[in-house]
């Protein structure tokens, strides 16, 4: 910050630049490819807390003596019991010199660490360099950014600082800029996003103007809303989750059932079997369940999700907040599921997997590691459609969602044959898959319903498996491999010919989808949907559109205003004459591997 050059190109229209414009100008100064340092308060935030705690201990242990110095008569405590204090008083000069020296040394060390901790943002990567004895250099290619988070631990919020976390694929491979000044961090995120997205300079300018037009006003907003700094991009969260719903759903989501079972079992042990010692098992158990409940609640409160030009925006947290922007194509799989006790309310939960992992020891925000896998903590069918539509717009109004969540055998899904009843007792007519041009839909479970959606272009590899028992029953299993282990999408107990067909078909559709996928630099001249509209698709009968007559309408929640032509619209390519072999579309110029290098480094 201290080295930020003066604003390079202040817009001439505004004689007095607003706060947002200043922030943007400073952020532009930071992305010039030169090395910059972090927020001056960084040493305090990273290591200074220990110093404060140390001072607190010292002060509290000398409290009695200090009080005694000022009011010697009333405070007649016996100092003989305090040899440490006596020693300190005897050797006052040396002790004070030592303390001052230690503090100075600490300040110098932290200052040095801050001096050598630098970052730079070039045309194609973000780099961070740190460490005095052990130098560490980390580089995040812009094209491989999975998400950019801004985390605000509560103590950093007090100082107006925050942590910019650039997520990359792989375990513990994030590039953190901690800490930055809050106002700049936000503008800096947009600058990085602009570069990563391959947006033209004119588009970037236009977006920045939009952002500045609706810039948020002041500290109050920031305290009240976790997403204040990007709230104006999409003013309202797309889903609204009442607090009551969060509380009830958390109560019904498994752990409360176990808590009650635990209490009942202990009660039986105490009263029924006269085992009074069992009462001592109650308290730790109660504390554990309470802590688990509070944790799961805290991570769901104040949740908001919205669409921005740079992808999905998630914001959550009470005291320590996190806002995340996940660019398009960084979500590898979705799962919509319904715990059994949620069924009377018609609630669903949407989880997702991503390539990066958040460190579980992230400073003060242990919730993020848990939270970051929810796209929707709890919501009704309409919310599910909204959220799925953010990731897979093609499916937002499709009947396939209804069929996937509620449907049974005679519908668009290819389900298990009746002889698979041994393996899927209740769900043999539900257990199935459907191949949509945009995604694979895998439907499971009749009692615990779930639906997995895997975007075609995100599949890494496909496995076709058959064990000896499946072999006897002529069944097979197909697994779609995606990064990370939160979800492992797959479908078992389907007819082996269907499985082989799906396997064969998947490899061809995935190939086409990969060729069409432009999400690596998502805002380049040719948008994803433009490509989708022009590129050919594979047809071999698996992708038949869902028929309206066979749709099983949900008992409680009708599809929200699905247009009558939704069946046809859900699968526009299905209307074309079927063809099995297609030639891949030519790779658009912006997807060429060298396109990044041809882009001018600094267009501004």
């Amino acid at each position: 910050m201290t080295t930020a050059p003066p604003p390079q190109a202040p817009p001439p229209a505004a004689p007095v630049p607003s706060a947002a414009q200043q922030a943007r100008a400073r952020a532009i100064g930071l992305v010039d490819g030169e090395w910059h340092r972090l927020h001056p308060a960084t040493p305090l935030l990273r290591g200074g807390l220990a110093l404060i705690i140390f001072l607190g201990i010292v002060v509290s242990s000398f409290r009695d003596r200090i009080i005694g110095m000022f009011v010697p008569d009333e405070w007649d405590a016996d100092f003989d019991q305090d040899p440490f204090g006596d020693f300190v008083l005897d050797q006052l000069l040396w002790v004070s010199l030592g303390v001052v020296g230690l503090v100075l040394l600490g300040i110098v060390l932290f200052w040095l660490a801050w001096r050598v901790h630098r970052f730079r943002i070039t045309g194609d990567a973000v780099e961070v360099e740190q460490g005095i004895l052990f130098r560490r250099h980390r580089r995040a290619p812009l094209a491989r950014i999975q998400a950019i988070n801004i985390q605000r631990p509560w103590f950093a919020r007090l100082l107006g600082a925050c942590k910019l976390e650039i997520q990359q694929a792989g375990n513990d491979s994030n590039v953190d800029l901690d800490y930055l000044s809050s106002s700049v961090a936000n503008a800096l995120r947009f600058e990085i996003m602009d570069r990563a997205s391959g947006r033209s300079a004119a588009d970037a300018q236009r977006l920045a103007a939009q952002r500045q037009a609706g810039a948020p006003g002041g500290v109050v907003d920031e305290l009240l809303r976790p997403d204040a700094e990007i709230a104006h991009l999409a003013p309202d969260s797309l889903v609204r989750i009442p607090v009551v719903r969060i509380v009830i759903s958390s109560l019904l989501d498994g752990w409360i059932v176990w808590a009650i079972a635990y209490v009942v079992a202990t009660g039986v042990a105490i009263i029924g079997f006269q085992q009074f010692w069992a009462i001592f098992a109650l308290l730790p158990g109660a504390i554990a369940f309470f802590a688990a409940g509070v944790k799961s609640l805290g991570s769901k409160l104040r949740y908001s999700i919205a669409a921005t030009p740079d992808g999905i925006r998630l914001a959550y947290g009470l005291a320590s907040t996190t806002t995340e922007i996940i660019p398009p194509g960084r979500i590898f799989a979705l799962q919509v599921k319904q715990p059994l006790l949620w069924r009377p309310f018609g609630w669903w939960q949407v989880t997702f997997t991503r390539a990066g992992k958040i460190k579980p020891d992230g400073s003060g925000t242990g919730q993020s590691s848990q939270m970051a896998s929810y796209l929707l903590p709890v919501g009704d069918l309409r919310d599910v459609r909204t959220v799925v539509g953010l990731v897979l717009p093609e499916l937002a109004h499709s009947l396939l969602i209804d069929q996937g969540l509620f449907g049974q055998a005679p519908d668009a899904f290819v389900v298990s044959p009746p002889r698979a009843r041994v393996f899927r007792w209740f769900s043999v007519r539900r257990n199935g898959f459907h191949v949509h041009p945009a995604a694979f839909l895998l439907r499971h479970g009749r009692i615990w319903r779930s639906l997995q959606l895997v975007p075609q272009a995100r599949v890494q590899s496909v496995a076709l498996q058959q064990g000896p028992l499946y072999g006897l029953a002529r069944l097979g299993k197909v697994q779609l491999h995606v990064p990370d282990t939160v979800l492992s999408p797959g479908i078992g107990a389907i007819d082996q010919r269907d499985a082989a067909l799906l396997f064969d078909h998947a490899m061809r559709t995935i190939k086409v989808a990969i060729d069409r996928d432009g999400s690596e630099s998502w805002a380049s001249s040719l948008s994803r949907h433009a490509v989708l509209a022009t590129a050919p698709a594979v047809q071999d009968g698996l992708m038949r559109p869902p028929t309206v007559t066979q749709a099983a309408p949900p008992p409680s929640a009708p599809p929200p205003a699905a247009p009558p032509s939704s069946a046809g619209r859900a699968d526009p390519v299905a209307a074309r004459p079927a063809r099995v072999e297609t030639t891949p579309p030519p790779i658009p110029p912006h997807q060429h591997p060298d396109a990044r290098w041809q882009r001018p480094r600094d267009e501004r």
């Binding site: 890494q460 590899s461 396997f503």
Partner: protein
């Protein structure tokens, strides 16, 4: 027996010498188990061998024999197939597994060689994608073939690099 799951194509088999490698591994493993069972018996009976003391050795021998037969049968099922857009790998007789990886999705191609494999001039090819569950290996490739295949795959996947 019903027709099992299969994917047709001109599969490339791996070298049958890999079955010998596997057999040696299996025999050594069972030998260690047999020694661990018989030596204590020999020591506990005043360094004389009762007749039943040979039973563990015989059992281990039988199991090692089964292991050898199994290794030969299983090696026959290992294969790979280079298709225009992806690499297909199969293995397993009872537990069949076919994995297909689009060329653009391969992140790393590794070649490893254990001590027994080295004696027979074989190498193991290992593919890493962004998904840990892919877990694709082709064991038992003769050295030159392994390197040729690796070079070809690296070249193809470089030209089709497709993000994640």
């Amino acid at each position: 027996m019903a027709e099992r799951l299969d994917v047709t194509g001109e599969w490339q088999r791996v070298s049958m010498r890999y079955a010998v490698v596997e057999s040696i591994g299996s025999v050594i493993g069972w030998l260690i188990v047999a020694l661990g069972a018989t030596v204590p018996i020999w020591l506990a009976n005043d360094q004389r061998m009762p007749w039943w003391g040979w039973l563990p050795l015989a059992a281990a021998g039988a199991l090692a024999l089964i292991g050898v037969v199994w290794a030969f049968l299983r090696t026959r099922t290992i294969g790979y197939l280079q298709r225009p857009d992806d690499l297909l790998v199969r293995r397993g007789m009872l537990f069949r597994r076919f994995v297909a990886v689009p060329y653009g999705r391969m992140q790393i191609v590794d070649i490893t060689q254990g001590p027994i494999e080295r004696m027979f001039g074989l190498k193991t090819l290992k593919f890493v994608t962004a998904a840990a569950s892919s877990a694709i290996t082709i064991p038992g490739m003769p050295g030159s073939t392994a390197e040729e295949l690796r070079d070809r795959l690296v070249a193809v996947s470089e030209s089709r690099r497709a993000g994640l």
